[in-house]
C-alpha cells in the first residue's frame, strides 16, 4: 500500500534521526566550517568573481524579480521556493552590514558557501546548493566573495523559512550532509579538457542537477540518475532529461539555447530556465560549449530510468 504524504514525511524524519544516531550522533553530524587557513594566500579578483557569480546562478534566488540598482543585482533575497518540506525563503546576501553579509569575514562566507555552515555554526538547508559549491576552487570562491562585496547594500531583513514541523530542526541536517554531501565528481574521468571545464561549470557552479536529477525519499540527489529529469519541486510537470537519452540537440544547439534561450525549433525556454539563461548568457561561448560538451558526454539515460 502506498504511504500517505504524511506517512512519507514521518518516515523520512525517522530515517534521518536513526541515521544521525547510528552515524555517531552529534560528533559526525556537527556543523564543520572550513579550516581556519583555507583561504590563506588567496587574493580576490572581483572581475572573475562576476563570472563565477553568473555561472553559480546566485542572483536567480537571492534577488527579487528585476531588483537592480544601476545595472547591478540587489541581493536582498525574499524569493520563496515551495517544496515538499515547506517554503524556503532566500535570505538577504547583499553587502548590508546588518541585514546582509557585509559584516561577515571571507572565511565565514566561504564556509557558508562551501560547507553550508552559518557564522553562528548552524547547518543551512540544502535548498542552498552548497553541496555543489563545495567542489569549487578556493580561488573562485574568494573571487566571488570579492565581487559580492562590490554589490549594493539593502537593509531589508531576511524572512524566515516556513517549513513543516519535522524539518524545522537543523540538527538533523548533519545526518543529511553525512549521507548526501559528497565532493566526488559524478563524472570521474572527463574525456577532454573541454568536458572537464564543463564538469566544473555544471557540477560545482551551475548546480544544474538540483532540478534536473531526481531525488530519493530523503531529498538526496540520485547520482545514478544524473540529469535524467525529475518531477518539478512544486507545481505540475517535469524538469526534462538533459542526457542524450532525453535530449537530441547537438552540442552547438545546446550552447545556443544557453545563450539566446531559443531551442532548435525556435521555441524558447520557459519556467525557471528563463532565469538560468539570464546567467548563462553572460558566460563565454567557450564556457557554454563546455557545458554542452559535458552534457553530451553523460551516460544516456532513457525516460524510464
Amino acid at each position: 500500500m502506498p504511504l500517505s504524504w504524511n506517512g512519507v514525511m514521518v518516515l523520512r524524519l525517522a530515517i534521518v534521526v536513526v541515521l544521525a544516531l547510528a552515524g555517531g550522533g552529534w560528533f559526525l553530524t556537527r556543523p564543520v566550517p572550513l579550516p581556519a587557513d583555507a583561504l590563506d594566500g588567496l587574493i580576490g579578483d572581483a572581475a572573475n568573481g562576476a563570472v563565477i557569480f553568473a555561472a553559480s546562478g546566485c542572483a536567480s534566488c537571492h534577488t527579487a524579480a528585476g531588483a537592480e540598482t544601476e545595472g547591478l543585482p540587489v541581493l536582498a533575497g525574499g524569493r520563496s521556493f515551495a517544496s515538499d518540506y515547506g517554503t524556503f525563503m532566500a535570505p538577504n546576501i547583499s553587502s548590508d552590514p546588518e541585514a546582509g553579509i557585509g559584516g561577515w569575514t571571507d572565511l565565514e562566507l566561504a564556509s557558508a558557501i562551501q560547507r553550508g555552515v552559518s557564522p553562528e555554526g548552524a547547518h543551512y538547508y540544502p535548498a542552498f546548493p552548497y553541496t555543489a559549491y563545495a567542489k569549487a576552487a578556493p580561488q573562485d570562491i574568494v573571487d566571488l566573495i570579492a565581487y559580492l562585496r562590490t554589490l549594493p547594500a539593502d537593509a531589508s531583513p531576511s524572512l524566515p523559512h516556513d517549513l513543516d514541523l519535522p524539518f524545522r530542526f537543523r540538527a538533523s541536517l548533519g545526518g543529511w550532509k553525512l549521507l548526501f554531501a559528497s565532493t566526488d565528481w559524478v563524472v570521474p574521468d572527463p574525456v577532454s579538457p573541454e568536458v572537464e571545464r564543463g564538469r566544473y561549470l555544471v557540477e560545482a557552479l551551475g548546480h544544474c542537477a538540483e532540478c534536473h536529477t531526481p531525488r530519493n525519499a530523503l531529498g538526496g540527489l540520485q547520482r545514478d540518475l544524473w540529469m535524467a529529469g525529475a518531477p518539478a519541486a512544486s507545481g505540475p510537470g517535469r524538469v526534462p532529461n538533459i542526457t542524450t537519452g532525453g535530449l537530441s540537440w547537438s552540442v552547438e544547439e545546446v550552447a545556443e539555447y544557453l545563450k539566446s534561450g531559443f531551442t532548435p525549433e525556435f521555441d524558447t525556454a520557459g519556467g525557471e530556465m528563463v532565469e538560468v539563461i539570464k546567467n548563462t548568457r553572460q558566460l563565454s561561448d567557450a564556457d557554454r560549449l563546455a557545458i554542452a560538451s559535458y552534457l553530451a558526454a553523460l551516460p544516456p539515460l532513457g525516460p524510464d530510468s
Binding site: G237, S260, F262, F266, T268, A269, G270, G271, E275, I277
Partner: protein, 155 residues
C-alpha cells in the same frame, strides 16, 4: 393549462441551461490548435532570422525583412478567439496554457504587447545587416521567454 408565457419562459430557460451545459463541456480543441499553429508560425519566421544570426544561412536583407514583418503581423493578430475560458492546462487536453492567462489578463496582454514591440524593432533593423538581426533576436527571445516563464506549464 400552462399559459403560453410560462411555456415560453420555461423553454427559454431550458435553452439557456443547454447552452450553459454545452459551454462547460465545450470542445476547445479548435482554439488550442489555432494558438499552437500561431506559435509554429512564429517559429518558422524566427527560424529564418535565427539561421542568419547564427551564421547558418547567408544574410539576405529582403528575406530577413520579410520574416520580421511576418512576425509583426503575427504579433498584431487579435487573439481573442484563441483563449476561451476553460481551455487551460488541467481543464482541456493537449495544452500547456497556464490558468494565469485568465487570472492575470493584464499581465498576459502586457506580455503580448512586449512581443509586438520587439517584433516591430526587429522589422526596423533586420534589413540593415546581421548585427541588426542579432540584436533583434535577443529582444525577441526575451519577450517570448518572459511569457513562457509566467504563462506556460512545464512539459
Amino acid at each position: 393549462m400552462m399559459s403560453i408565457t410560462k411555456a415560453f419562459v420555461l423553454s427559454l430557460s431550458g435553452l439557456a441551461f443547454a447552452t450553459l451545459a454545452h459551454a462547460q463541456s465545450a470542445d476547445h480543441s479548435g482554439a488550442i490548435k489555432a494558438r499552437q499553429a500561431h506559435m509554429t508560425l512564429y517559429g518558422t519566421n524566427l527560424g529564418v532570422l535565427g539561421a542568419m544570426a547564427q551564421g547558418n544561412m547567408p544574410y539576405d536583407a529582403e528575406a530577413a525583412t520579410a520574416a520580421a514583418e511576418s512576425l509583426v503581423a503575427l504579433a498584431g493578430i487579435d487573439e481573442r478567439f484563441y483563449w476561451p475560458e476553460g481551455s487551460a492546462s488541467g481543464m482541456a487536453e493537449g495544452t500547456r496554457a497556464m490558468e494565469a492567462i485568465w487570472a492575470d489578463p493584464e499581465g498576459f496582454s502586457a506580455a503580448q504587447e512586449a512581443l509586438l514591440v520587439a517584433a516591430t524593432a526587429m522589422a526596423a533593423t533586420a534589413g540593415t545587416g546581421v548585427e541588426g538581426i542579432q540584436a533583434g533576436m535577443q529582444a525577441m527571445g526575451g519577450a517570448c521567454g518572459a511569457c513562457h516563464q509566467n504563462y506556460r506549464v512545464r512539459q
